[in-house]
């Protein structure tokens, strides 16, 4: 460990730490654009200038390693002047189209301007014109004028995704980011370039123009796109979820996540959700609350024994598995529990970075729970039992991410051979709507609306918390079990209203609105 002083504060850092890392570890603000902890050092934005005692020249913090007793300062007048000018150099050719730029609100240039700038630019000459609204690939749009050439995205495609699509072409202030000859930026991790872009040069097609970021709240959760279980942040407001971004976790996903994982929020929004329970009996079809439907099912399940089968997918939490398995084992009295996996061929697949073939967040948790309860039934037993009719009532839970179950429709047809089918899922599907016979559809809570634990492929347990409520009245599996038993629901799973903190934030927002120009 080395001792050094940052802005007069004595701290200890590991040997080999750069100054900017020391600043970060001690949560002291330092301006920077090109440095990113997950990428190599470029040292080109020249914004992380610091004054080191005994060195007359300002140094960049990202490429200077801390030495014993080093005294570093990034608050001196000299540094502030340098950063102010560094920022001005970034801005002289920047188009300042913040009103139509998606990055506005979370833009590095805006943030640094408020911290170090607040000056009137002296640039009176015409700005450099470059390409705007360049369709870079299926998920990314480029605006070269906004680009500050920090090279983060280029380093990402060179070092992380190793796909080398991006390059900086030309030189000097004519330089532009781009792909060769319009070849699309189509790797599986392309939106990460949007995340790491400190300005609005790269924007995500999916999120583009859908919301201003200051209308969104965020909450941390776990991605349910595959068994890697990337730590993510979801951005939402009362209209639903709008985007997903990765959160750094050195042991799971590092700084990144895949593009497909960012689509997970779409399964959660109202458009793709089952909104209320439906009980179909022959030609009769009745809508009711999920709780009511589950209660009715429970009355028939109790003590029904081995004529009942249960099909589970890996989309639920450990707590939910525990509740439903013990209910089926003890109160229903059946051990016919089957594990439905999405794609047996590529189930063990892995793309080498993050994305796994197992597209369920909690397969490991399900397997562990089934082992614990001594459940060993194989899928082919189910097929047999359905054809022989030894299973009459079949309860199915999931899958939540239907698009990643390529055989979903085939399986629905196969499972509908059961006399009575109870299907619990959060997503709506035409295949389920068209089911005939005795069918009960129960809307489930998505991962964003419940708490629980997911166990990822390495066995790491990660907890999720309820973020927002999208479908009122939807249930978690635990709550379904409560309803099966005919007990009343506890209010514990209800998403709390506005916390005091949030009220406070609203007040601050209003005060800003009403007293503009005074800060």
């Amino acid at each position: 460990m080395l001792k050094c002083t940052l802005n007069g504060r004595e701290v200890e850092v590991k040997e080999g730490t750069t100054i900017i890392e020391a600043f970060y570890q001690n949560k002291i603000d330092i301006a920077h654009y090109c440095w990113h902890p997950g990428l190599s050092i470029a040292g080109v934005c020249r914004l992380c200038m610091v004054e080191i005692e005994g060195n007359p020249r300002l140094q960049i913090a990202c490429n200077t390693v801390v030495t014993e007793g080093m005294k570093v300062n990034n608050q001196s007048a000299k540094v502030k002047e340098a950063v102010k000018w560094g920022l001005d150099f970034h801005l002289i050719n920047h188009p300042l189209d913040c009103p139509i730029c998606d990055q506005a609100g979370e833009c590095g240039l805006q943030d640094q301007y408020m911290k170090y700038g607040q000056y009137d630019s002296e640039m009176a000459e015409a700005k450099q014109k470059k390409h705007k609204v360049v369709d870079l690939g299926p998920r990314v749009v480029l605006d070269s004028e906004r680009c500050i050439l920090c090279s983060r995205c280029v380093r990402f495609t060179d070092e992380v995704s190793k796909t080398n699509e991006l390059g900086i072409f030309n030189r000097g202030d004519r330089a532009e980011i781009g792909t060769f000859n319009g070849k699309p930026l189509a790797n599986k991790y392309s939106i990460n370039t949007v995340d790491i872009c400190p300005v609005g040069a790269l924007t995500s097609k999916d999120f583009r123009f859908r919301q201003r970021v200051w209308f969104l709240k965020d909450a941390e959760t776990v991605c349910t796109g595959c068994s890697t279980g990337c730590n993510v942040k979801v951005y939402y407001n009362r209209e639903g979820l709008f985007r997903v971004k990765p959160v750094y976790n050195s042991e799971v996903n590092g700084h990144w996540m895949c593009d497909e994982g960012r689509d997970v929020y779409k399964f959660v929004n109202k458009e793709s959700r089952l909104l209320d329970a439906r009980v179909v009996s022959g030609v009769k079809s009745e809508h009711m609350t999920a709780f009511e439907a589950a209660k009715r099912v429970g009355e028939k399940l109790k003590g029904a024994g081995k004529t009942v089968g249960l099909v589970l997918t890996g989309s639920y939490t450990v707590e939910e598995y525990e509740a439903i398995l013990s209910y089926f084992k003890t109160e229903v009295g059946t051990d016919r529990v089957f594990h439905w996996i999405n794609n047996p061929e590529s189930f063990e697949g892995f793309d080498g970075l993050l994305l796994r073939g197992d597209r369920n967040p909690n397969t490991r948790g399900l397997v562990q729970a089934m082992q614990k309860h001594g459940l060993t039934a194989q899928w082919k037993e189910l097929t047999e039992a359905l054809s022989t009719g030894s299973i009459q009532t079949l309860v199915v839970a999931g899958p939540e991410n239907q698009v990643w179950f390529p055989d979903f429709k085939v399986k629905v047809a196969e499972l509908s051979k059961a006399t009575r089918l109870i299907w619990m899922t959060s997503g709506k599907s035409s295949a389920l709507d068209e089911l005939k016979g005795e069918v009960t559809l129960i809307p489930m809570k998505s991962y964003i609306e419940k708490s629980g634990t997911f166990v990822n492929h390495t066995g790491r347990a990660q907890t999720i918390r309820p973020v927002t409520s999208i479908v009122k009245g939807a249930l978690s599996l635990t709550e379904v079990v409560t309803a099966f038993r005919g007990e009343a629901l506890q209010g514990s799973e209800v998403v709390p209203g506005r916390s005091e903190n949030e009220v406070g934030r609203g007040r601050i927002h209003n005060e800003f609105t009403l007293s503009r120009g005074t800060w």
Binding site: L58, W85, H90, E122, L149, G172
Partner: protein, 431 residues
């Protein structure tokens, strides 16, 4: 004191370009002597000679060689023949007139720093010198001066020529290394310095053509012999490229410490008839300009020019007489740096463009009263803010031109025309 032909003794003799001619005139004899020495002896000799890099920065060559780490990694020697500092053309002359002189110097230097692989990085526009060098390298290889076990000493050296493709920044040593690695010629972050991690992250020494050629002479005459020329701190001779408004522009070799005015008046035949000296850019376009009065005091050595706030640089002396508009001259310089900025570091990428736009505005009669101060502010903020020195190189001429010839700039902005030539300058005549 007059011009002293030391390195350039045999220049102009056509046979000096060929291996046989070169050998007849004493070539490759020093190599035989050097290969019998210990590498460290050669480094010590170079250190003792006080030889300083002739490419621009003027860093002591022996000291630079001493930075190489002793970790058994392969080492590289690169010869910087990417001569692109405006005003410099001495290396081209050396490569055209005496390719073997460079090759001999490189073999000795490579032997001293124990490099097994050496490259000459030549700028892409120098197709003539490149052809001459390729031929000379082939000759030297055939004669056993390059390759395995040179002259039975057990020392191997592979020398190859690498051709650039038009980028000033590749004259910067790390930019050159990037270019040699097949990337864009963008300078690399320092530290690590090339002597520790250079070409392919291996220890690399980059020296100018003239520096490497001079090594041969240091070994031939010993450090003391070399020190006969020049001053205490600036030892040896130097080739100066003189261009601009003088009667006989060209390359002249004089000992360091030579008087600038003597070089202009004696060697170069003085100013054009009826013209007066106005200013001199003493070390390539990036060196701050000095006025005619300062020229009287100037001697051509590292210390004197540094004291005057400018630098010896690559030894490119551009003589400007009173028929030139300093605003117009500065406009070509700012255009050059805007065009050549590699675009990596923001202050340089944006600052060079900004300065060019302002100066361009002034010469086109669109200058505004605040422009001069703005130029000074921008230039000041570009100094020392970037990875390489191009930003400084772009800022220094602006600072010096504007401060030393402020009246011309003010006049131009006020009157919207030049103070000299009755306002008849290019930008306004050919708008």
């Amino acid at each position: 004191m007059a011009e002293s032909k030391y390195l350039t003794e045999h220049y102009g003799k056509p046979e000096y370009c060929t291996l046989d001619g070169y050998k007849k005139l004493g070539g490759y004899q020093v190599l035989e002597k050097a290969l019998k020495m210990q590498p460290q002896q050669i480094i010590d000799e170079v250190k003792a000679s006080g030889l300083r890099g002739r490419g621009g920065a003027g860093f002591a060559t022996g000291v630079k060689w001493g930075f190489l780490p002793n970790n058994g990694e392969p080492r590289y020697l690169l010869c910087n023949a990417d001569e692109s500092e405006p005003g410099t053309f001495k290396d081209r002359l050396m490569m055209e007139r005496a390719p073997h002189q460079l090759i001999e110097g490189m073999i000795i230097s490579a032997f001293a720093i124990k490099a097994k692989k050496a490259y000459i990085y030549i700028r892409g526009e120098y197709t003539g010198p490149a052809a001459i060098l390729e031929k000379a390298i082939a000759e030297a290889k055939a004669a056993g001066y390059l390759g395995k076990n040179i002259l039975g000493s057990g020392f191997d050296l592979d020398l190859d020529l690498y051709i650039g493709a038009g980028a000033y920044i590749c004259g910067e040593e790390t930019g050159m290394i990037s270019s040699l690695e097949g990337l864009k010629g963008q300078p690399k972050l320092k530290p690590p310095f090339p002597a520790v991690q250079g070409y392919l992250r291996k220890p690399t020494i980059v020296n100018n053509v003239e520096t490497l050629a001079a090594v041969t002479y240091i070994i031939r005459d010993g450090a003391a012999g070399y020190r006969k020329y020049g001053t205490e701190k600036s030892a040896g001779t130097k080739l100066f490229s003189i261009s601009g408004n003088v009667n006989k522009p060209g390359t002249y070799e004089v000992p360091l410490g030579y008087k600038l005015m003597d070089l202009i008046n004696i060697e170069c035949g003085g100013m054009k008839p009826g013209r007066k000296l106005k200013a001199v850019v003493p070390g390539g376009s990036s060196a701050p300009v000095i006025t005619a009065e300062e020229c009287e005091r100037a001697t051509l050595d590292y210390e004197c020019l540094a004291q005057m706030g400018t630098m010896l640089g690559s030894g490119a002396i551009i003589v400007i007489d009173d028929s030139n508009c300093m605003v117009d001259v500065l406009s070509t310089i700012t255009h050059f740096y805007h065009h050549e900025s590699c675009g990596q570091c923001t202050p340089c990428r944006e600052g060079t463009g900004w300065m060019e736009k302002i100066v361009h505005g002034i010469v086109h009669g669109e200058g505004k009263p605040g422009d001069i101060d703005l130029l000074l502010k921008i230039a000041d903020q570009m100094k020392g803010r970037t990875i390489c020195a191009l930003s400084d190189a772009a800022a220094l001429p602006v600072l010096s031109f504007v401060t030393k010839f402020r009246d011309e700039f003010e006049y131009f902005i006020r009157e919207k025309k030049s103070k000299v030539r009755g306002g008849q300058i290019y930008a306004q005549m050919h708008a």
